[in-house]
Subunit: 287 residues, 2 copies
């Protein structure tokens, strides 16, 4: 049997009791370690679970899924995923491959950033589609998020923006010389996200959002050190110090915002008076 | 301290290890029991947690929140919520009241139906806003869900429909005679939801969806007895036997559907050949 076990959002104690029982008994335990990370490292998990863990990087999951699934017709394999097991497309592939091989699949759900973000005080049913933001380079500035955010904003909804993480990226200069050297991991911050958003608005000029649009920076959602900083996109460009270490996410406010949501979120504002002024002028009863 | 503890979606072992530690140590343990239910009863939870549990019904949470928060400045109170603690508006109220009283609040996230629904094989980032469906009566047929679904469909997104539950509803005839007698709990099924959806389409005639629209009925998501049945809305009107006991939810497919999502979902179809035919004609590359 293949078990997809969600690990939740922050540390070793966020696994469910059901998930922990499966991990303790499985023949092999994998940890998917490239679409998200916990705030604790592999050794902490191994010690807490009492099991050794095989790190499954992107290449292993995408190219060597049959190794992961070996003998799972008769043995139990635990494939652990940060957050909820169905947060990322790759795991759908793994399940489809397991089906082809006649392997039964079960999943153990857990908190996902897509639901955990509710802790910022915005109502989950007021969110539209979730978008992703990647690190821009000189040559590659994918901006499909802009069109998606526009769709959400047009109907008044909030948008959760998930931020890029780069783990186990090969250094290109070394690669050209035939050696594989990995770059240190990089995690996009709210500041970088807000700046990239404003760059694209400056190019596209469709008024989807602007420097004074209200947003919430979120750090380590679901963890003991969870932090929210609310402000304008311009203010959030400078909020990285207040937010602290990764992982970060950002929420852009929609205009279909309830009074109660504003009461909750305003407490996190860099400048409460400014937040309230913009909210009253641009958001309240504006949809 | 007030702890909002998510219990997850199905049984007593879906609590996280972190949540269980808090519940075991808290001065008082409440269970919010009106916006959703677990698939096990209070006694199972009490035995598993080793604690007695106070059921918090809607009236208590909305009118007597200060009783729940009593002494939480100095003691730990655990307020347990099925799914994730921020799934329902009422808990936002409780947090705001706690803030007023100078009580520190922490939350322990867990799986929510809004992320757990990913187990059906549709990608979470292809979902638009979530809607709710209540039991229609002769006098009251709220159809705001129709407009919301239209917004999602217009931009190609899937819609998760959460279905009404009625617990502790007073019997109106008894109430008129001055006695409070509670009706047995009622949980909306996928069949009722699909019929009510088609009734509203028949009235509004905006072509938001129809009898041949593809959808997925979901039962006991996240539980060991999780079932998905995929089919047209007309087929899902008759799928309650295949789905089994509560809780049910429904997903209406959007046209921005990836090939891989279809591969995954088709396995659950009442009639795989028919599903594929409609998918190819009406969904594939149609957005």
């Amino acid at each position: 049997m293949l078990y997809l076990v969600g690990l939740g959002l922050s540390d070793e104690t966020d696994i469910t009791v059901k998930g922990l029982e499966i991990v303790k008994k499985a023949s092999r335990v994998y940890l998917e370690a490239y679409t998200s990370i916990l705030l604790v490292n592999k050794e902490v998990l191994e010690s807490y679970y009492g099991r050794s863990i095989i790190i499954a990087d992107r290449e292993m999951v995408e190219s060597s899924s049959d190794d992961i699934l070996a003998n799972a017709q008769t043995e139990d394999v635990a494939f652990c995923v940060v957050g909820d097991p169905f947060g990322a497309t790759t795991h759908t592939d793994l399940v489809l491959r397991a089906r082809e091989l006649g392997i039964t699949v079960a999943s153990v759900p857990n908190a996902s950033i897509m639901s955990g973000i509710g802790a910022c005080g915005l109502q989950l049913y007021n969110f539209g589609q979730t978008v992703s933001m990647v690190f821009f380079t000189d040559e590659w500035r994918p901006a499909s998020f802009y069109d998606r955010i526009k769709e959400n904003r047009d109907i008044g909804l909030h948008t959760l923006v998930l931020l890029d993480i780069k783990v186990k990226e090969p250094n290109l200069a070394s690669l050209a010389r035939g050696r594989i050297v990995y770059e240190p991991p990089r995690y996009m911050t709210v500041g970088t996200c807000a700046k990239q958003m404003l760059e694209i608005e400056a190019e596209r000029k469709e008024g989807v959002y602007g420097e004074d649009s209200l947003a919430i920076g979120a750090a380590r959602v679901g963890g003991r050190e969870q932090v929210f900083v609310a402000g304008t996109l311009k203010e959030l460009c400078e909020a990285d110090d207040a937010l602290g270490p990764p992982l970060h996410s950002l929420v852009l406010l929609g205009r279909r915002t309830h009074e109660l949501e504003n009461d909750f979120v305003r407490e996190f504002a860099v400048d409460k008076e400014k937040w309230q002024r913009i909210w009253a002028a641009e958001y309240q009863n504006k949809h």
